[in-house]
Subunit: 265 residues, 2 copies
């Protein structure tokens, strides 16, 4: 059948994919994979190819962005093409353009979902999903922006948590660290003086969500600014109002001190 199936690889390594996603890959005529919208720290292409019994064409950023994945669409017009993407296929907006173009050209598309880094981080923290406001990405210093500070401020104002994804260039192995992100936000605090992110603010740093050895640490910003989180990828949560069960979760799962019980609103 002529179609383009977007399959989520899930998290961390070649075993993050669902059984359904693996079945779709096994029956594909052409398999494409892109490794740069997110980091899967322990993913090995040779092991993955052994599991699915197919050779995968690694798509470069240039092929996808400048050529709009034209060769993927050509393959999908004549046969079953599977496009493998880290996490859940469209949580990164990069691939939406390809899917729109496919549908415009009459190529049927389907999605096989995978575990997403966003639900993994929320799940690991034990914080309540429905209490998160807008998510934001903290950029590298060269793309400095006040947006992350403003989003945390906007969410806190109504008691909501903020999930901050920290920018990365997966193929270049560049990762904004939790320490750097906090330092940048403290600088913005110096400038704006709204008491949004001060040394006494509570935050949760998360490294390697979805791997076998995630690191979580909930503490005051003053203690997190030089905490060693180990290997990437990284993210950061600024909690809004904490429910009793949420502070218990941070104590049990993220090494928070018992002092966190006093923060419950």
């Amino acid at each position: 059948m002529n179609e383009l199936v977007f399959v989520g690889l899930g998290l961390n390594d070649e075993k993050g994919i669902s059984i359904k996603g693996l079945d779709e890959t096994k029956t594909a005529d052409h398999v494409f994979i892109e490794p740069y919208t997110s980091l899967m720290p322990d993913f090995n292409l040779q092991r993955f190819e052994a599991i699915c019994g197919k050779k995968a064409h690694v798509v470069s950023r240039r092929e996808l962005e400048e050529e709009n994945g034209a060769f993927i669409l050509e393959a999908a017009k004549k046969s079953k093409a599977v496009f493998l993407v880290p996490g859940d296929p469209f949580i990164a907006t990069t691939h939406v353009t390809l899917r729109i173009e496919a549908e415009k050209q009459g190529v049927k598309t389907r999605i096989i979902h995978g575990a997403s880094i966003i639900s993994a981080i929320i799940s690991l923290s034990g914080l309540h999903n429905y209490k998160f406001g807008k998510t934001v990405t903290v950029p590298f210093p060269e793309n400095f922006s006040e947006t992350p500070y403003n989003v945390v401020a906007q969410n806190k104002k109504v008691g909501l948590h903020t999930l901050c994804l920290l920018d990365l260039k997966a193929t270049e192995k560049q990762f904004l660290s939790i320490n750097q992100a906090i330092a940048m936000l403290l600088e913005l605090e110096q400038k704006n003086k709204k008491s949004i992110i001060t040394p006494a603010t509570v935050a949760v740093g998360i490294a390697r969500a979805g791997s076998d050895c995630p690191t979580l640490k909930a503490d005051f910003v003053k203690n997190l600014v030089d905490y060693d989180f180990g290997e990437p990828p990284y993210s950061l949560i600024f909690p809004g109002d904490l429910h009793f069960m949420e502070s218990e979760s941070l104590i049990a799962f993220a090494g928070a001190t018992l002092e966190f019980r006093r923060l419950v609103k």
Copy 2:
């Protein structure tokens, strides 16, 4: 090894689980499963047991909530216990209590993530993940609440989208329909008169996210109120400000009319 591993079953059926989750289940001494925090429409326990080669103990709501899963903890103190949960394990807050209790009693816990209904819905819609505000559940009429209306209002005020999960009792096969949810919200509009959810408001209804045949329909509320979405589960998005690419996505993936291009801000 004595431990309690929470494994996400992912979406829809027994093939939604990751390969890693399946491997953990195959090597477990005790397998527990709960089928009521979310609906997996095509999940079949016998087929799942055949795939993993283990018998699974179906946990009742009473065993989990009233007895705090004491027998799961007992099993995990002496052996490797796997607890299978629809979607991603802690997106529903129901299981956080069990995990806290396990850690308090010295039982090590781990999480193997699965695809979550929340990232699946966002992924399917093509709307940008970072433009969603707080998520809300629309309850059954007997638990009537103004919260969903207020959350949509709060998000819209700052241009953000709202994901509304529609309440369900999976084991009783009761589902709040998209039509019912919209009717309830229109009633609240009548009462509050803030022009948040009127017949001319844009919304996106989604049925069976994560299945082989999801239905998406983006339209004005007046047209969605009696649209036939087929089988459950259901959810509903009230978009805030639409980016050009988002309106193109709704046209390509959710049957929106070209009129949606005029809604771009």
